[in-house]
């Protein structure tokens, strides 16, 4: 199904896509979002807008999407299953579409325990798999999730989902990715890759099942600012793997930030050249959006293709 998504056009034409991420602020001003959007504008095909990431209350992903669209970037609205039931999800999806959003990324969402309202309830009325189905039903069957007809103007999103090759059980991660494709996901963004060997084993299994021919996979990468960040992710973040060599390399570096960028560039080049089945890269420069243009340029991914 062709949507109005530019990201879809680029991916479907076989070009290596580049997406980045903007995290909305913990206040009501869009100045920072707009600043980052202007900075990234010519260097990425679309930008994710996180949805209250790590369960910290932030400016709404859909509202932030309006701002970055206004700055000339196509947003990928993230939607987690933690905070909305199926009524709110469908309502927000229609609202987002009416405001010009064309891409949605479906996620479970981090548990509220990690955020700034740890005593809150979580919703999980539908899970990320079912959210993909919900989007498909609205778009392809012109029905609300309940089966009631959407008489006109159904939202027609390009539907994304995530995969984490670094969580367990490892083999089942590939099967679950396939399940997401069966549910209707059209593009996949992976969790940040630090352990390249594991990612390659993951992609090998993906190719064995032919999943890469059914969905666009964008490899997630994150430039690290220093060894402490690497160590923290290695020891304290569930579902992420950072090899010890990477921690040491950052520790021994004269300029750790520069080294973090170098590592990220090496990874992207390596993935693009060597890992078959990857159709793009998703750069998650967490609270470091300004480094994205340099990375894109030095990876030979600039200028970005023009979508029609």
């Amino acid at each position: 199904m062709k949507t109005e998504s530019k990201l879809q056009q680029i991916l479907d034409s076989g070009q290596f896509a580049v997406t980045a991420e903007i995290g909305p602020p913990k206040h009501s001003s869009a100045e920072g979002i707009r600043h980052h959007a202007h900075m990234l504008k010519d260097y990425v095909d679309a930008t994710n807008i996180t949805d209250n990431q790590t369960a910290i209350v932030r400016l709404s992903s859909i509202a932030a999407g309006v701002h970055i669209l206004d700055c000339g970037i196509e947003p990928i609205v993230q939607m987690t299953c933690r905070d909305r039931n199926r009524i709110a999800m469908q309502s927000d999806l229609m609202g987002a579409y009416s405001l010009g959003m064309r891409n949605v990324l479906c996620l479970s969402g981090d548990h509220q325990k990690f955020g700034n309202h740890p005593t809150s309830k979580n919703v999980y009325d539908v899970d990320s798999m079912q959210l993909i189905q919900l989007l498909r039903r609205m778009r392809d069957e012109k029905m609300f999730f309940s089966g009631e007809e959407i008489k006109e103007h159904e939202p027609r999103f390009f539907i994304g989902a995530v995969a984490n090759p670094f969580a367990d059980p490892f083999e089942f991660r590939v099967a679950r990715l396939e399940k997401k494709v069966e549910a209707g996901a059209e593009f996949i963004q992976t969790q940040c890759i630090f352990d390249m060997e594991r990612f390659e084993r993951f992609m090998e299994m993906v190719r064995e099942r032919g999943i890469d021919e059914r969905v666009h996979i964008l490899a997630g990468v994150t430039p690290l600012k220093g060894w402490r960040a690497a160590k923290y992710i290695q020891t304290s973040v569930s579902g992420m793997i950072v090899p010890e060599e990477m921690v040491q390399r950052l520790k021994n570096a004269e300029d750790p930030k520069k080294e973090g960028v170098e590592i990220c560039i090496e990874q992207i080049k390596y993935i693009k050249e060597n890992v078959k089945g990857v159709h793009g890269v998703h750069i998650m420069a967490i609270a470091w959006e300004e480094v994205v243009p340099e990375i894109v340029e030095r990876c030979g991914l600039y200028p970005r293709p023009k979508a029609n």
């Binding site: 509220q112 325990k113 005593t119 809150s120």
Partner: protein
Amino acid sequence: MIIAQQKPVKDIAEMINDCQKVLFVGCAGCVTVCLAGGEKETEVLASSLRIMRKLEEKPLETVTFTATRQCDPEYIVALDNLVDGVDAIVSLACGVGVQYLAERFKDKWVVPALDTKFIGGSTVHGVWEEKCGLCGDCVLHRTGGICPIIRCSKSILNGPCGGSQYGKCEISKDVDCAWQLIYDRMTALGKLDKLMEIQPPKDWTKSRDGGPRKAVREDVMID
């Protein structure tokens, strides 16, 4: 106590469709009291399935046993010499019992015969009602002994909402408005002023939202 109800027999039959010999395990705890999974129900279910399968010309061999409690691993040890040669175990306990059986008998297909509904009590013989939401942080001292967490359809802590009319909840004329009941009781007790305190948002970490719960009493632990 836990209130459970038996699933339709055809659903249970479907779960063990490809089995020749099945062990049916009842529980003498809550599900005996609510007439869902005691010794009697276990025998009746096993024989219903035997008859059903005989009519289908696919005879079913059954073994039955009722444990003192399935929610206590020591009482399911007795099943060790009953599971040999069975293709599946059907548990007539609440979800706790099903899981303890599955944990103990790792190579057996364990299926539930009941739907675990709620915790509550019985008003008259044959009627059970939900009374506690298992929120982990009891508020009954603030609401006149009437639970707003489970008896109010919206779990509102500062009710009633605008859907309360003639003492009933907006979802059904068969459902009492918990906040009407709370109001009436607090009025009768002369404690209406207590309802003027704005109840703060609840700490849901003590409920299921905080993840699976565990209660530990070191003072009574044996090892």
